[in-house]
Symmetry: C2
Subunit: 403 residues, 2 copies
């Protein structure tokens, strides 16, 4: 809790945490993480993607390492627990082993990934995707709002874009990746269950829906003559909600952004652009949700003289967690007297990148009222300690397995 509080004061303001990747606050936070790692006996290096990697060798040379980690960058007006708990909890595990003079068979690595949130450059899971070797060409050439390239920004955290391929780890380098994280949703807190065993990180399909009607004078245009894009957009907003809530085609559906043109109080809106996203563990359900949305839009176009464009911006496949690691986390929890439930993660995590190159497991602890990405984000000390203990005992269980 002490290290969470200390890190939580770096970049703190009344509006919440603000340690956006590559900012001076992020650099200061990373320095603190490095100090803690060193104190816990980890040998620290920064890879070309800016990931901080702390490593302690095991007793038996030649075995692959067990990795634990998360990220310490935040969203604007974020909280103290998202990401930070996973990194500091992992360091605490290593510190605890050192304090008890326990040396594991396998090497342990603690990973603090660069720019998980993607608030910078809109390229999220940056460091973990570099480690998994799944960066795309746009990831190398991105430019931020100030016109600065990601290559230049990476230098500020010790990265080197010209050598970024070297950040890639091979399959077999790591025998497992465990990530402790706050749930960021209300399920565990509402059910009073201390540990969530993540089954999979849900997939996501992101769309843009543009409704093109006709802007006209709000005083002189009779109701029957209007092609009001905002009125049609309101039907689409309700349809997206209904697809998840009532039709239960997929787990969640959200319209988070709406841009209205010309957005003047006395002009009938001529155009509205909506962001739409659907999430589910099953890819088929995502495609079905999009199919249903397209059908509704086609109906709306038939009813009135509108143009509606539905563009798919991207699909993130769901990432299943390893059944072996789920069982280990489950047993470790029960061994500590902690009940568990299995649940999917609605949010994305570095674990989904790492699933490309190793077995991954995720441990969730309750978020009070399910609030996250907010200064109101809170997980109580007991919840955090439970999570770290389960992480430690899961680590030891993996270490105790046969090779």
């Amino acid at each position: 809790m002490k290290t969470l509080e200390t890190l939580g004061r770096i970049g703190e303001s009344p509006e919440g945490m603000q340690r956006l990747a590559f900012t001076p606050a992020d650099v200061e936070g990373r320095k603190y993480v490095t100090t803690l790692m060193t104190r816990a006996g980890l040998e620290v290096r920064v890879d070309p993607a800016g990931n901080i990697i702390g490593r302690v060798e095991g007793k038996e040379p030649g075995l692959s390492a067990i990795a634990l980690g998360s990220h310490t960058d935040t969203v604007p007006s974020g909280g103290k627990y998202d990401g930070a708990l996973g990194v500091l909890g992992a360091i605490e595990c290593v510190q605890s082993l050192r304090d008890q003079s326990i040396t594991t068979r396998r090497p342990i690595e603690v990973l603090d990934f660069t720019n998980e949130e993607g608030t910078r450059f809109r390229r999220w899971l940056y460091g973990s995707r570099a480690m998994a070797g799944v960066l795309e060409s746009d990831d190398l050439t991105a430019v931020d709002d100030e016109g600065v390239t990601i290559g230049r920004r990476l230098e500020d955290v010790g990265g080197d874009i010209s050598r970024i391929q070297e950040a890639r780890r091979q399959k077999g380098d790591l025998c497992a990746y465990l990530e402790l994280h706050i749930e960021q949703g209300p399920v565990l807190h509402q059910a009073g269950i201390p540990i969530g065993v993540v089954t999979a990180i849900t997939g996501r399909i992101a769309l843009e829906v543009s409704i093109i009607g006709f802007a006209n004078h709000a005083g002189t245009t009779p109701m029957t003559n209007r092609r009001d894009a905002l009125l049609t957009a309101s039907r689409i907003i309700q349809a997206v909600n209904s697809i998840a809530t009532h039709e239960e085609i997929c787990r969640v559906g959200t319209v988070g952004m709406a841009k209205v043109s010309p957005n003047a109080e006395n002009v009938i809106p001529g155009r509205v652009d909506l962001s739409v996203e659907f999430r589910d563990v099953e890819l088929d359900r995502l495609h079905e949700a999009v199919h249903r949305l397209n059908g509704i839009c086609q109906q709306l176009v038939l009813d009135k003289d509108f143009e509606i464009k539905v563009s798919e911006l991207g699909v993130t496949k769901s990432a299943p967690m390893s059944p072996r690691l789920r069982e280990i986390i489950e047993k470790a929890s029960l061994g500590l007297g902690l009940n568990t439930t299995s649940l999917p993660s609605g949010a994305g995590h570095d674990a989904q990148s790492m699933a490309e190159i190793t077995d991954v497991g995720m441990i969730f602890v309750p978020s009070v009222d399910g609030i996250s990405h907010s200064p109101k984000e809170y997980s109580d000390p007991e919840a955090c300690a439970n999570g770290a203990n389960v992480l430690l005992n899961s680590l030891l269980a993996i270490d105790g397995e046969g090779d």
Copy 2:
């Protein structure tokens, strides 16, 4: 048509007319208007509110003047007819009398009002309200987006805010005010009727509706746990439409603006601010529409844990046109073989200010497809000529009345 075309090229671009009040294009347009007025034999002065006033004396000294007018400023991306037709049509009437060596009994004034659109300073009908003596204190102290006061801007068009009270005209100064204007709506064009006799300028009530829910993670928050402000806003958008369209409580209802917070694709909207306006000739109907909207909002608050604030921003009373002038316009039209229909004006006009100090009458001509405040705004030469002829014959009819 020639003067409309010439004025229409000042400030023209592919995006439409842009002669925002007080800009160099506006100043250039006003210079052209002054030239035309002088050529038509009008003696031109600019009052302290920047209104251009052209006056020609009549045969019988001591009679009050007949005023004709409108405005030549435009909205951004506006058209060539809105406002301009009323000013240039009025000058054409005076030019026509001069060409035929006709001198009226009464003086004639042609008025080109300052900043009718109110795009600058959000203080609309500026010049006509100054002339009617109904400016408010905020009208004198307004500052634009560039931090410049309205007093400073008025200097650019020959006004003087320190003497603005002198722009006020007394009741009795003018015996009538006539305004020729494009309909800006589709009624006349759809019905194939060349002249609209305006019954009243509709009243308007402007509201802001703020929906305060709770912003949360779009991936991790189950559908049943959401307090999605945009979803609730979508219900209010539909309710506003229904109040006018299906319930027919008032003539029109519009949501023109929506501001979504935080407006991020992966965050459930926590707050939405909507602009709502209702228009009707009857004030009671406006209050009933607001009452109904409040009822719907209260129901939405009961259903879910939301806060909804409905704030009334302002009420513009409807302005009835003079029955005497309506009859004169009607007769003048029929005398020219032009059918008429009576209709309210959904848009605001300088005539509503002038109704405070004299009898007012408005003549509408068809707008093709009802399009206005748009580069696609169009009224054909015949429609414009019809309107100007009705204006001239109405003027002569008023002049022929007993004192």
